[in-house]
């Protein structure tokens, strides 16, 4: 009997050297990294810990966690028999916020608080929620939504299908999702955003935004290159060049400081040209398949305007301009040998502003063109 008790006690002691109990603690220093590899279950990381240590517990006895308390703290769980799992498994971790996080949940959600260091958060399909991350952030899920606060450094956020919602980003940003929306605050650096639905960015440096379906709305950017397969593209202010294309939807720029190239299959284009440097490259190429083109240009602009309506409406004015335009009837002599009459109303007009210069090409297959003085 004593022998049996001794064997059991010895086994338990041996086991305790390799595995940790459900409650455990591991010291951690500033700037160290907390590494977690969770084969099952959700990860909940509370970053309000006051001690220089990581406390953790897992609420399921089937799961055994192995710890490695070195300079960095590493917690790794075993993969229990899935058939024996009943209900949700949750990893509850408390850590001080001045650490880096490297968390992988193989099949679960990740939820973290504010972190002063860098954060790498990955899951194969759950949702990821994060507070403020002062360092760099890489947040990747193969299916869920991502919601994060401000990120101090660069940010890479990816989901296969979920929506991405991010606060301000201090560095460059990359956002990718196949079926979700992208919503971001103010981004100091450049942004690459590929979405499955609408993309909203409040402010950024250079922006490259692409979506399969949905609007692209960028409040303020140094430069914009935007493309959507179906939706509108709008910007309140673009301080540099703009390139935009939509298969179907409007394009609207409330203030464009440099050259603009925009095209839409179906939809209207409205551009307010407000250059910071009147002598810079201010060419415009605006092409609408079905839709109106409206452009506002400053009176001091040196420009050569060329406006064409390919298929005029039955009875409506095609080209309306605040500036004198020379109408050119298709297939007719240009300079007044045969004056315009009702059958040859101008559907192709040209104008030289201040002697000509920046080429402004305005084209619609079916719609009207309006040129206004800014």
């Amino acid at each position: 009997m004593i022998r049996v008790i001794g064997v059991i006690s010895g086994s338990l002691l041996l086991l305790s050297t390799f595995t940790i109990p459900l409650f455990s603690k591991c010291p951690i220093s500033d700037g160290a990294t907390l590494i977690v590899r969770a084969p099952v279950g959700d990860l909940q990381v509370d970053t309000n810990g006051r001690e220089a240590a990581v406390d953790f517990q897992v609420d399921n006895s089937l799961l055994q966690v192995q710890e490695n308390c070195g300079k960095d703290v590493e917690l790794t769980g075993n993969a229990p028999d899935p058939a024996q799992i009943h209900g949700t498994i949750v990893w509850r971790i408390v850590t001080p916020k001045n650490v880096n996080l490297d968390l992988v949940a193989t099949a679960g959600n990740i939820d973290i608080g504010n972190v002063d260091g860098d954060s790498i958060l990955r899951t194969t399909g759950g949702h990821i929620t994060a507070g403020q991350i002062k360092g760099k952030a890489a947040i990747i899920t193969q299916g869920g939504l991502v919601k994060a606060g401000n990120v101090g450094g660069d940010a890479e956020i990816r989901s296969q299908g979920g929506t991405l919602e991010i606060g301000d980003v201090g560095g460059n940003a990359e956002f990718h999702t196949t079926a979700g929306q992208i919503r971001a605050g103010s981004i100091s650096g450049a942004v690459t955003a590929e979405g499955g639905r609408a993309i909203f960015i409040i402010k950024a440096g250079d922006v490259k935004a692409t979506t399969n379906a949905g609007d692209i709305s960028i409040g303020d950017a140094a430069r914009i290159n935007a493309k959507t397969a179906g939706g509108s593209i709008t910007s309140r202010r673009v301080r540099g060049p703009f390139q935009g294309h939509t298969e179907s939807g409007d394009i609207r720029l409330d203030s464009a400081a440099a050259w603009v190239e925009a095209s839409t299959g179906q939809g209207n284009i409205v551009v307010h040209l407000a250059p910071e440097n009147i002598d810079g490259d201010l060419h415009m190429d605006l092409q609408a398949g079905i839709g109106d083109v409206t452009v506002y240009v400053p009176p001091r602009l040196k420009a050569t305007i060329d406006a064409t309506v390919q298929r005029p409406a039955f009875q409506a004015q095609q080209i309306i301009s605040d500036f004198p335009m020379n109408g050119i009837a298709p297939g007719r002599p240009v300079q007044g040998l045969i004056p315009n009459n009702r059958f040859y109303s101008p559907t192709h007009s040209q104008s030289l502003l201040n002697g000509g210069g920046n080429k402004i090409t305005l084209h619609t297959s079916l719609g009207k063109i309006t040129i206004r003085r800014q």
Partner: protein, 309 residues
């Protein structure tokens, strides 16, 4: 018309009182006929002398011309009514061969007019039925005509039949309950070339997912739409109803077939939230997701199975 007739119209031409067609005809004749042209020059000289003289008549009322025209028109009407009274055969006191001829001619003209009008209606009945200010002969002013073809052109009668297509901008307001609004939204859902339009249609329809027809449209979008964003928006709208049998069936189809892991994750989350402890569903989920390459989905199903037991 004879030269005499043309010369009678020269005065009216100088006073700009001729209709467009007669004016063009007269001007053409004046270019070809020296005698009439001479008469025109003479009349024009006299007209200019009178005009110079008239410039000194400051006390002429500005509406004199209008009043004169109105008086003339009234007088002509009065004469015409008087003439009509005794000329109409039914009221004619004396029945003469001339009256008989007039009657026959009138009947023949009536028949011809009837045939003409009926022919016109065959070509485009809506033109005569609903002319509005924005339309010219039934064609909207802002419409664009394409693929215009000449179906028929008769050089003798001048009758021409045209066929083509008209495109025009559409703007429509109404409530979700309106059949037209629904039809337009459902039509947008079927626009294969425009995922943005389909997405917006789903977003609007998602506001009323309780409506049976709208629910069907959303299920259709979830199962068949080629764009992942549209499918995701549809499943977001439907997730509250994942407990209903037909919605559940659509979600099961999505779990088994959708290529986008994000949408499958949404489906499994919704099914688990709305169908707790359903053993049959648990079995079906196990079968459907057995080969899913996403560990999260497999794990969630196992979790659900464990809970349902």
């Amino acid at each position: 018309m004879s030269c005499k007739d043309y010369q009678h119209q020269i005065t009216l031409l100088l006073y700009d009182e001729l209709s467009e067609s007669i004016r063009v005809e007269l001007e053409t004749h004046l270019q070809d006929c020296p005698n009439c042209h001479e008469a025109y020059e003479s009349e024009k000289t006299m007209h200019s002398v009178l005009a110079e003289d008239a410039a000194r008549w400051h006390d002429i009322p500005s509406d004199l011309l209008v009043e004169s025209r109105r008086a003339l028109a009234d007088e002509l009407d009065r004469i015409e009514r008087k003439r009509s009274w005794w000329r109409v055969p039914a009221f004619s006191v004396v029945f003469t061969p001339m009256r008989l001829l007039e009657s026959v001619a009138l009947i023949a003209m009536g028949l011809a007019l009837g045939v003409y009008v009926s022919n016109q209606r065959q070509v485009s009945p809506q033109i005569a039925a609903n002319p509005t200010q924005e339309q010219i002969s039934g064609i909207p002013r802002n419409g664009t005509i394409s693929n215009l073809q000449i179906v028929n052109a008769d050089p003798i009668t001048g009758q021409v039949e045209l066929a083509g297509e008209i495109s025009q901008p559409l703007r429509f307001q109404g409530k979700m309950e309106d059949d037209t609004v629904r039809s337009l939204l459902f039509s947008a859902l079927r626009d294969a070339n425009n995922p943005g339009s389909r997405l917006k249609a789903v977003e609007v329809l998602a506001q009323k997912p309780t409506d049976e027809m709208i629910e069907e449209a959303l299920i259709n979008a979830l199962v068949y739409d080629g764009d992942a964003g549209v499918r995701m928006r549809a499943i977001e709208a439907l997730q509250k109803f994942a407990g209903e049998q037909h919605v559940r069936a659509a979600f099961m189809h999505t779990l088994g077939n959708d290529t986008d892991a994000g949408i499958r994750v949404k489906a499994i989350d919704a099914l688990m939230a709305r169908n707790s402890r359903d053993v049959e569903l648990a079995k079906s989920l196990e079968a459907v997701t057995e080969k899913d390459d996403n560990p999260y989905i497999r794990s969630k199903v196992l979790e659900f199975v464990g809970t349902a037991k």
